[in-house]
């Protein structure tokens, strides 16, 4: 017995010793944990959100957006449209240098925009209206568009607005993402795939004084619990994507702070209208909506941290159409609608669910909700690559929760999903009326008019239900309570100017 105690004591002692050897963070460094391994650090091939998280810390953009989606100056200090809305002139800042020393000028901007238009570029659709780019002078760029474009500025405030060094573009070509060089506060040092990306401060950056950290290390930790555990034990300063169900625990921790981010996004169930089956009938789609309790999904799956919704924008957005509030769950009405459609209960429905714990949780809830509202829902949990194949072939009944993760313009969350030619229109929804409305938003340069058009499109989507909007994510960041000055771009990416750790 006595011996056991002494063993325990020495074990505890070893533990204490081990703990005291914990690495001491250099106050001038930032350790930021990401949930996914970023894809290519190159705007031309970037598709995933995490890639842009890293690029946003590294690079300036031609323009920025704020949380109200107002366009702010960046590498372009000002701009002006021609009267016919077909020519955009950008005035660039002077004296800036790329991280490799190459001077930043209009020619570099031209090279980059043209590169983003090339075949195979993921950005080609973003700037499909751009007809030509001219470097009028070293600080003046003239962009000509084929038709007035309401969303072009938003695109220049998104990935297209990141400008890479022409020297490096020439050197690395499509492999630019291996060692990107742009104009921005932090330069690329190294990347160990699935482990970390290291950046260091660029002393030549024109606004370097605003940045406190000498070094930024992104750690890639996909496991939600492990990421949080590392932050709690002091191995990290900041992390993204807190599992909302942990929010309550974190809120009690005096050493940590939760920072919710408001981003334009939505999560939906996509209904395949092109497939023979019950979902072709608008009444059945309405019945499905009646079966769902969106607030319950938000409360149970996301601990109330996200926001329920029924349109492509959240209910508190100025673009939300208040004439169509979130309908309450009504299982009886759902059953009545199924009977009206001449179908037998339960109506079978197969939902493709992305293979992520939180998505599966939502899927399981929808399944349970369907059970006493006239539906027999089965879930088909598949990984991302298989989903791409199935949805591309149109070989699915419904798919969700899925939707655009971030955007700095309404066009991004509406047009690709709802327009008959949209790249993400996987429900194969074809409505001439909707097409007309969405096309009109693209050329409407008057913001008030544009807002009206989006509200009309929202009303139409609510009526036709090609997708059922479920909720809006509010990505949760967690930081040590010593971190001050956290702020983000309008599309939800962290910027480090003014951020410090005491």
């Amino acid at each position: 017995m006595k011996r056991t105690t002494s063993y325990l004591r020495s074990a505890a002692l070893i533990g204490v010793l081990a703990a005291s050897f914990g690495s001491v963070a250099n106050a001038a460094d930032l350790r930021f944990a990401l949930a996914d391994d970023p894809d290519a650090l190159d705007t031309k091939s970037n598709r995933a959100q995490t890639g842009l998280t890293v690029l946003t810390v590294m690079c300036d953009r031609l323009m920025w957006t704020d949380s109200k989606l107002t366009i702010l100056p960046g590498l372009a200090k000002s701009w002006s449209w021609s009267d016919d809305g077909k020519e955009l002139t950008l005035d660039l800042i002077e004296g800036a240098k790329f991280q490799d020393g190459t001077p930043f000028d209009a020619e570099a901007v031209k090279i980059n925009i043209e590169r983003n238009k090339e075949k195979g570029s993921q950005r080609a659709d973003d700037i499909s209206t751009v007809a030509s780019v001219e470097a009028v002078s070293p600080t003046k760029v003239l962009i000509k568009v084929s038709e007035p474009s309401a969303q072009l500025l938003s695109k220049l405030a998104d990935r297209v607005g990141i400008v890479f060094s022409p020297t490096v573009i020439k050197e690395l070509g499509d492999n630019l993402g291996r060692a990107p060089v742009c104009v921005g506060p932090y330069k690329f040092v190294e990347r160990v795939a699935q482990d970390r990306i290291v950046l260091e401060k660029d002393a030549n950056y024109y606004d370097a004084a605003k940045y406190a950290f000498d070094k930024v290390t992104f750690r890639i930790i996909p496991d939600d619990a492990v990421r949080l555990a590392n932050l709690q034990s002091g191995e990290l300063d900041l992390m993204e994507k807190l599992d909302p169900s942990n929010a309550a625990t974190v809120a009690e921790d005096k050493n940590l702070q939760i920072i919710p981010m408001t981003v334009l996004n939505n999560q939906t169930v996509v209904l395949n209208l092109n497939r023979e089956g019950p979902m072709k009938d608008p009444k059945v789609r309405e019945a499905l909506e009646m079966a769902l309790d969106r607030q319950a999904i938000v409360d149970v799956a996301f601990a109330g941290q996200y926001q329920a919704g029924n349109q492509f924008v959240a209910p508190d957005s100025p673009f939300y159409n208040a004439d169509f509030p979130i309908p309450a769950r009504d299982p009886e009405k759902a059953k009545a609608l199924i009977a009206e459609a001449g179908l037998q209960e339960p109506v079978p429905l197969k939902i493709l669910v992305p293979n992520r714990p939180l998505s599966v949780r939502v899927g399981e809830m929808m399944q349970a909700m369907g059970t006493n509202a006239g539906f027999a829902i089965t879930l088909d949990v598949v990984d991302f690559a298989t989903t791409l194949k199935l949805t591309d072939e149109g070989n699915f009944e419904s798919w969700g929760p899925i939707g655009p993760q971030f955007a700095n313009d309404l066009d991004t969350v509406a047009y690709p999903v709802l327009h008959s030619t949209g790249g993400r229109n996987l429900s194969r929804y074809k409505s001439p009326e909707m097409d007309k409305l969405l096309e009109a938003t693209r050329t409407a340069t008057d913001p008030a008019k544009r807002m009206e058009l989006f509200k009309e499109a929202s009303a139409l989507a609510v009526k036709d239900r090609p997708v059922l909007y479920l909720y809006h994510q509010k990505p949760l960041f967690v930081a040590t309570s010593k971190l001050k000055g956290f702020h983000a771009t309008g599309d939800g990416f962290v910027k480090l100017d003014g951020m410090t750790i005491d």
Partner: protein, 316 residues
């Protein structure tokens, strides 16, 4: 000795060739259209056709295999679709990580398995023997990823003694490196420690029945000397063989351990690659681990040969 080696190496070549064929067929097996993954959700049909052309997805199987194997021979494993990084250097950066983990796990298993096995053999049929046998079976029966989760829960979340995950190179920060390695090494080594213990026990039992051990005992040699000098020296041959062969198994076991502890090694790379449909990365890892296994078997043969004096004198 030399002839024996040559013979073994020659025999390994067809095996390696067949492994490469199997590994390459995996590409055909993986679902999903790689062109769709590369092109992303928004790719137009023309763009997909261009991607298929560019990557040679339209070529017949054997042509694709030929391109691949000739590139691999030159050390070119292709480029990741997703990050545009070269797979060869990526893999090269991950191999030391997994090797470090596997070596640490091997150490854990030797330090626990061999003494426990020897003691169990000495006290055969007594309490200690039963205890060790039960412990060993438990070690084999525990799913190592679950053991990992439980250790994270206890030592990282509750007690806060050890970091929950990650990997730090020994050369960057030795102390932190060891701290991060403790849990994964135990998790990965537990099963092997159990196997090692069982093997040591049975090897020792076999040896202790042999005449020369009995003779030594009869001559009045001290029991400790009998056990360590006579019995263990001879029992180590099968143990060495097992340890070498099991090194390959460790590499495979690392798949889940690395997943649980977010260790950026080869195992994590292959799982991520399977889910991202990174065919070339899957092929590279599978081929390499197959080759490593063949190499280890070869090494086991050689060690067996070297460690076994009787065999050596016979052939020399």
């Amino acid at each position: 000795m030399f002839g024996f080696l040559v013979q073994r190496v020659l025999a390994a070549i067809p095996t390696l060739f067949i492994i490469s064929l199997i590994v390459f067929s995996l590409q055909q097996l993986l679902p999903g259209d790689p062109a769709l993954v590369i092109g992303g959700g928004e790719a137009s049909p023309e763009m997909l056709a261009q991607i298929r052309e560019q990557y040679g997805f339209n070529d017949p199987f054997l042509v694709q295999y030929w391109h691949w194997i000739t590139n691999v021979m030159q050390g070119d494993f292709g480029v990741s679709f997703r990050t545009r990084e070269e797979i060869g250097p990526m893999l090269a950066a991950k191999i030391p990580v997994t090797l470090t983990l596997a070596t640490a796990a091997m150490l854990v298993s030797l330090v626990i398995g061999i003494p426990a096995g020897i003691l169990a053999a000495i006290w055969r049929g007594r309490g200690w023997d039963h205890a060790v046998t039960v412990a060993a079976l438990s070690g084999i029966s525990i799913p190592n990823f679950w053991l990992g989760i439980m250790m994270i829960l206890l030592f990282a979340v509750h007690l806060g003694w050890l970091p929950a995950s990650g990997y730090v190179s020994f050369f960057d920060d030795p102390i932190q490196s060891i701290r991060t390695l403790i849990m994964p090494a135990i998790v990965l080594g537990a099963g092997l420690a159990a196997a090692m213990m069982r093997h040591t026990r049975s090897a020792m039992l076999t040896v202790m029945r042999q005449d020369y051990v009995r003779t030594a005992r009869a001559k009045g040699v001290a029991e400790k000397t009998v056990i360590l000098k006579h019995a263990f020296l001879n029992a180590q041959i099968p143990i060495i063989t097992l340890a070498t062969l099991q090194f390959g198994t460790l590499l495979a076991g690392a798949v889940l351990t690395e997943q649980v502890f977010s260790i950026p090694g080869v195992g994590k790379m292959v799982v991520d690659a399977v889910f991202n449909r990174e065919y070339q990365a899957v092929q590279a890892v599978t081929l390499l681990s197959g080759a490593a296994f063949v190499l280890m078997s070869l090494l086991a043969d050689v060690l067996y040969f070297v460690a076994n004096p009787k065999l050596r004198t016979k052939t020399l």
